[in-house]
Assembly symmetry: C2
Homo-oligomer: 406 residues x 2
């Protein structure tokens, strides 16, 4: 597997566009990802009971058809809590885009992100779809414009791509995602689109993405708020020319491994670019009795406001980590916990058997000062582990969210 530059247009047969349509005041606000041939489609979506109109649309398409040829996305308006009119507007967005591309509307997936409660400005969307068609391009620059157009409070666009071989054929996976606040994915992420030229059955594509998110997008959190719009979509158009993967085996495993690299890197980029964040905070819980126990404990740590502010302050306030483990709701022996912090500045054992070691606060602060920091909690009971990614909680997060709509 090779990490390559580019995003959703890296695999064969994909084009993309990112434009300014006029939904936001100034910034790009509409994107299109298009496959030149029909593609298998799968997705995972928010578990929030309040689902945005595009989420409901995509869930239906993925379930009923498992195929699509385009994804049209907008930022600025989430089209959530918008009632029957919101559903109608979403369908219109798909229809406008389909018309431009010569497709049926059921071949167009949709995604929206932005303020909840506002209706889509449908005339702007109609014009935007025309412009998107006109601006389509298959190079890396166009993928970059699409990734940029789905940003809200993100400070940078997020793309990743890898290539690998299956049966002598080069296969590529590209992806883009966005998400900076209201990030606590549960079965999906804020918005993510993955493209691949792999030939794979619809069923296995869905299986792969469903399994994958458990260890990638579902393991990140910025603010514990599970969005109404979380959608991760994947298109597979088969243009790599490999023999279609129809059962689990070596070829499927190669794909899963490459897919996981793309989703994990995108997920980490989202966590690192959490609203107001100054650093990526990774947490692994090891020595667990079950995977589930490790997942619950690691997520409890990265979502604690007190842990997150301590990380911001470069303060090795390990008591808050043990506290967050203690209220997570799963059993473990606090008197057996070892705790380490790690970064490019070194590794330090802060806690042994539930009590402070004689560590150097100075060294701990130096480790925590880096852009990527990690905590490892060893509960010394079994052999399972999990890793979760979050970010620090800063005054800037408060400013951004106290003032989001104005």
């Amino acid at each position: 597997m090779e990490i390559i530059s580019g995003g959703v247009t890296a695999p064969k047969g994909y084009k993309a566009a990112g434009i300014y349509a006029g939904i936001k005041k100034k910034k790009k606000d509409m994107a299109l990802v298009y496959s030149v041939v029909p593609a298998k489609a799968a997705g995972t979506f928010t578990t929030n009971l309040v689902k945005a109109a595009p989420v409901v649309w995509d869930m239906k398409i993925v379930q009923e058809y498992g195929a699509a040829q385009a994804v049209v996305l907008n930022s600025g308006v989430a089209n959530a809590c918008t009632g029957a009119l919101g559903v109608e507007n979403n369908e219109k967005m798909a229809a406008f885009m389909a018309e431009e591309l010569g497709l049926k509307k059921e071949e167009v997936l949709t995604a929206s992100t932005g303020v909840i409660g506002n209706q889509l400005p449908i005339e702007i969307i109609a014009e935007g779809c025309k412009l998107l068609k006109k601006e389509l391009g298959e190079d890396a620059e166009h993928a970059g414009l699409a990734a940029e157009a789905i940003m809200t409070t993100d400070t940078c666009s997020k793309q990743y791509a890898v290539s690998f071989e299956i049966g002598g054929k080069a296969v590529t996976i590209g992806g883009m995602s966005k998400g900076s606040g209201m990030i606590h994915p549960n079965m999906a992420t804020m918005l993510g689109v993955i493209t691949t030229d792999l030939a794979i059955s619809r069923e296995l594509l869905l299986t792969a993405i469903r399994e994958d998110v458990k260890d990638s997008f579902n393991m990140i959190s910025v603010d514990r708020d599970t969005s109404t719009n979380d959608s991760l979509l994947i298109l597979a158009n088969g243009m790599a020319g490999n023999e279609e993967i129809t059962e689990k085996g070596e070829a499927y495993d190669s794909f899963v491994k490459a897919l996981h690299k793309v989703t994990t890197e995108l997920a980490k980029m989202m966590a690192a670019d959490g609203e107001g964040a100054t650093k990526l905070f990774e947490c692994s819980v090891v020595g667990a009795d079950t995977k589930e126990q490790a997942v619950i404990l690691s997520k409890s740590i990265i979502t604690s406001n007190l842990v997150k502010t301590a990380v911001y302050g470069n303060d090795a306030n390990w008591g808050r980590i043990l506290c967050a483990m203690g209220y997570a709701g799963v059993a473990f022996d606090p008197d057996k916990v070892d705790l380490y912090v790690e970064s490019c500045a070194g590794t330090l054992k802060l806690v042994e058997n539930g009590m402070a070691t004689d560590y150097s606060e100075e060294k701990a602060t130096e480790i925590l000062k880096q852009k990527e920091v990690k905590a490892v909690a060893d509960i010394k009971s079994g052999s399972f582990q999990a890793t979760a990614w979050g970010c620090d909680l800063t005054d800037k997060y408060v400013y951004i969210n106290a003032d989001y709509r104005s």
Copy 2:
């Protein structure tokens, strides 16, 4: 029932002291509440798996004896994650205080709050116990000093007292509490001591406090972090002279009602004084099918960082409230929800049947600008309701917690 001034010394037969012992750099750091006669004792405690040494001590005393005559408290060091030495030091603290008061150590309850992981400075504690004995007083001023000595990042001390009659006898309940960060009580609060001169059986005292916290302390949250030290203790010394309450009935109901007034007011004071908070944020969910559903939904709203920052920004960003309800994990129909905001500046319906009304943003901001604001979500299904209390999330919360130990 009459609201009276004062705190833990308001009922007959109680004395208190609050002093500077030297655990903290400057501020008062030890408190004592003492009943001149033996009192029935009950309590509720943190559900965090990581329990501080004083919590373990108190749980044992309340369960085995159900009686005590004093509570010694310190702030600055939580005595949590301190191993066998922490347990020993806690027992010493009880023993020192018992010796000064001429009691057995098992008649002294303990409570600690502050940094997790540090050991109690036991010589300072020993001297502190002597000073506490010397400084005991039964007037309101002494209750105030005790309330002050248990503060950590609290900006004001928290006391409340009421009196009422049972069978012609005046009964008084007084209380104090602290808690500003790591507040998300589950079966108890950070630290709270309630005193009463009521005569009541040990069993009913425990029942009353256990039932009460469900609607008072367990309904507040500052930062979703359930502390390692949460303890709510209640002493009842019988000096009001009423016939001892040994079964549920009119007298018990009068007590429960008065107790609830004290606990609710203390809980609201804690929420309003959450770390960095500028306002109290109350949330009621009404029209629920069950009490549990209303509790889960109202707590999900007040604990959402995105809702809390919007409240700070006086921004009627109601979509975040519906979003927080949607991921709470209980069923309801989003398309039936009505949502109101309320304060002394008026009431405004923001959402009807899941969609925005044509409300005035200006009016909404005016309502949200007040020191106490309320949201009411009517899910129009059943007849149950619940109220939770929280606060806004501000840049000051971040400053306080990024820099707590330094």
